[in-house]
């Protein structure tokens, strides 16, 4: 055999030692509870005893007309929530980053901070503040709109079945637009000046430079942002809960998987919680997110071209 075998290196214990804390913590706080949830979804409480029922809970979730209607409604709402983020949050984030990275812009640091601040606010505050802003009684939104003669366009958006979810999505976009902006901004700054100068020598400037030079270089960042948005949106719960309550009114029009899970797991008012059905929904959420991430990792990320400078 090769000479590598004869001079065997000692086992590198330090790698295990250095990895151990992360593995232990991650196992204790992530993998074990996750496995517990998956296991819980296969059981049901019959006469106060947890009994193994195989996939019966999943059959209930998809077979029972009420459970399945609730689930598909929540899933579609969640998709719409995600679509609004992809169509508004990320393009606006890229636009803001492009503007911020322009060398001619003054007070860039101020704008950057101001736009990023909502991201660090608590959901409770964001939900409450926007409820007040949009309140038809004391909100500033109707007042501002009437001062420009658009009072007729104002509607109690959070209370209308057809508008509430979009309104909440846009509130969430307002809160989180700072994250794509910062990531893209960092990516734009990391483009070497030589590349830009070379482009300018070739006569590519202005908008063309953005589309032809910068955008391809920041595509990997956009991919990362998309997947972060996807995971964040399908795990969302807080904003809906603080703004609309656990029943996600009006008429479940803002019910997303997170609130659906909450009601099933913990119950609400007179409804007692059903941890097993809750775990079943949580498991479905896990698989949906897993599938989305897999699609990204195997179908999109491998095709993205990376440029080394």
């Amino acid at each position: 055999m090769s000479s590598a075998d004869t001079i065997r290196r000692p086992f590198r214990w330090h790698i295990l030692v250095f990895l151990a804390p992360a593995i232990l913590v991650y196992t204790a706080f992530m993998i074990v509870p996750l496995a517990g949830t998956l296991q819980f979804s296969l059981f049901r409480s019959i006469d106060r005893v947890q009994t193994f029922v195989g996939l019966d809970n999943f059959r209930t979730l998809f077979g029972d007309p009420r459970w399945s209607a609730g689930f598909w409604n929540a899933l579609w709402n969640n998709c719409w929530f995600f679509i609004v983020h992809m169509l508004v949050q990320n393009p606006v984030g890229i636009l803001l980053a492009a503007l911020l990275s322009s060398p001619k812009l003054r007070f860039a640091a101020l704008y950057r901070t101001a736009i990023f601040i909502p991201t660090i606010l608590s959901f409770v505050i964001v939900g409450f503040v926007w409820k007040l802003i949009l309140s038809p009684l004391w909100g500033i939104a109707p007042w501002l709109m009437s001062s420009v003669g658009l009072r007729g366009w104002f509607a109690p958006w959070l209370g209308k079945e057809e508008h509430a979810l979009t309104a909440l999505s846009l509130i969430s976009v307002w809160q989180f637009v700072g994250i794509p902006m910062m990531l893209i901004y960092a990516a734009l700054l990391s483009i070497p000046d030589e590349v830009i100068e070379a482009a300018e020598c070739d006569g590519i400037t202005g908008m063309a430079q953005f589309w032809k030079i910068k955008l391809p270089l920041i595509l990997p960042s956009i991919g990362i942002i998309s997947i972060l948005t996807f995971v964040g949106n399908f795990n969302a719960f807080d904003l809906i809960y603080t703004a609309q309550g656990a029943l996600a009114g009006p008429n479940f029009s803002t019910d997303i998987l997170g609130t659906f899970l909450y009601r099933a797991f913990f119950g609400f008012q007179l409804q007692l919680g059903d941890p097993n059905m809750g775990a079943t929904i949580a498991t479905m959420m896990f698989f949906i997110i897993l599938a989305g991430v897999c699609v990204y990792l195997f179908a999109i990320q491998t095709r993205l071209r990376r440029y080394q400078f």
């Binding site: 309550g245 009114g249 609400f268 007179l270």
Partner: protein, 419 residues
């Protein structure tokens, strides 16, 4: 809240310590409760009144935070460290404790005869054979109105539905006030202050409620759909943008004097007394025709029971009998206007609004909220569905018939009434 809790615990433990040292022969009984807001009332009024009459028994009120109460109580009961007396939530939460053998049967407790069967229904087994908590208080639904507004517009207090809508129309035409302060954003306002408030007049209170549980009536029957039709007629009289109006918004609209009528629960009384700068009055849900029997929602909310494993059961039962007495009822009802004693003996109250509310008990027949007993045990939950559908009907996104059908379908999915 926290400071109150800590003071409570401190006061509680010092009391305990004192009792242990000085009066070793005395029996000390402890009350578990979620009403930490009532700590002062218990310590300053209720407990001294009891101890003055019953030397040899010391009472300690040991409340925990409302949101933690159920979980904390269950853990303590399982561990055997719970107090002698347990404050009871209505219906299934307490029934579960009784079925587990953690609450004692109090059916034959002296003083129980002071309560009507409706008053006891929240703390009885489904067949009504055993009662396991002494009812303490209920809340009554009705309408609170701005007296100044009514006087200025020359409106008499409405007794029938026609008068009610005529009054609303007049207030709307005048334009100074929003006729009705109610929103649909929080859903439960529409169900609790709307449907459960006016409904008993249609389904004839207990008669309809029990028929529904027995399966003799359905939510698609006219008696259950008509209240929705009436609610739908409220829509034009609600404030601008009521779809996004929350419960605190409604309260503020009324107490700031911007709305004339507030569909209410009596628990609002003490808050409104301190907030509102105008004179207030109250009227019961209007009946359809003058002279019809009126029905009110007199919803049982809080009671007190005996820990089955209490070592001081005799002393605790003495206390419970006192809770069932008119004396307790009078102190409690006056300290907390809006929480009415469930005792059949009338209680003298100082607060005029509270007096008005409680006077309906003599004129009208009492019932409790239709969805609370038995019917909200399954999935989909009838109470939650009622919230959603009541809001839908007022928003105009569902017709009354469609709402009734949805609710009945949901109920049919799991509830099989005993034939």
């Amino acid at each position: 809240m926290k400071t109150k809790l800590i003071t409570g615990l401190l006061a509680g433990s010092s009391l305990l310590g004192f009792a242990g040292m000085a009066l070793a022969q005395d029996k000390t009984i402890t009350i578990e409760s979620w009403r930490n807001d009532d700590l002062a009332i218990w310590q300053e009024k209720l407990i001294p009144a009891f101890e003055a009459k019953n030397p040899g028994i010391k009472v300690v009120f040991a409340p925990s935070a409302p949101t933690e109460y159920n979980a904390a109580l269950n853990a303590k009961l399982d561990a055997g460290s719970a107090g002698d007396l347990i404050t009871c939530r209505p219906f299934d939460a307490s029934l579960e404790l009784y079925n587990k053998g953690q609450l004692a049967d109090l059916t034959s407790l002296p003083g129980m005869e002071n309560f009507s069967s409706v008053a006891k229904s929240a703390w009885q087994t489904d067949d009504g054979a055993a009662t396991f908590c002494v009812p303490m208080a209920s809340v009554i639904h009705g309408f609170i109105y701005n007296k100044d507004a009514f006087d200025a517009l020359g409106i008499a207090v409405p007794a029938t539905e026609d008068e009610f809508f005529a009054a609303l129309e007049k207030i709307k035409a005048d334009g100074t006030y929003i006729p009705l302060a109610m929103g649909t954003k929080d859903l439960w306002e529409a169900a609790t202050m709307g449907y459960q408030n006016i409904g008993p007049n249609y389904w004839k209170g207990e008669e309809g409620r029990i028929a529904l549980i027995k399966g003799e009536q359905k939510l698609t029957d006219p008696a259950w759909v008509e209240p929705y039709a009436t609610l739908a007629k409220w829509k034009p009289y609600l404030g601008d943008g009521f779809e996004a109006q929350t419960y605190p918004d409604s309260q503020n609209l009324f107490t700031l004097g911007r709305a004339a009528i507030y569909p209410a629960g009596s628990w609002e009384i003490s808050g409104f007394n301190t907030q509102a700068q105008f004179k207030m009055g109250a009227f019961a849900p209007p009946v359809k025709q003058a002279g019809d029997t009126c029905y009110i929602s007199d919803h049982t909310d809080i009671a007190i029971g005996l820990n089955a494993k209490s070592p001081n059961a005799d002393a605790a039962k003495t206390f419970l009998s006192w809770v069932a007495s008119p004396e307790f009822a009078e102190i409690y009802a006056n300290a907390l206007p809006g929480f009415f004693s469930l005792s059949s003996t009338p209680v003298k109250m100082q607060d005029p609004l509270a007096q008005e509310f409680v006077s309906w008990r003599d004129k009208c027949k009492s019932t409790i909220r239709s969805t609370y007993q038995i019917l909200s045990r399954g999935t989909p939950n009838l109470e939650n569905e009622t919230w959603v559908e009541s809001a839908n009907v007022i928003n105009g996104t569902d017709t009354p018939d469609a709402a009734g059908k949805k609710l009945q379908d949901g109920l049919d999915a799991w509830y099989k009434p005993a034939k």
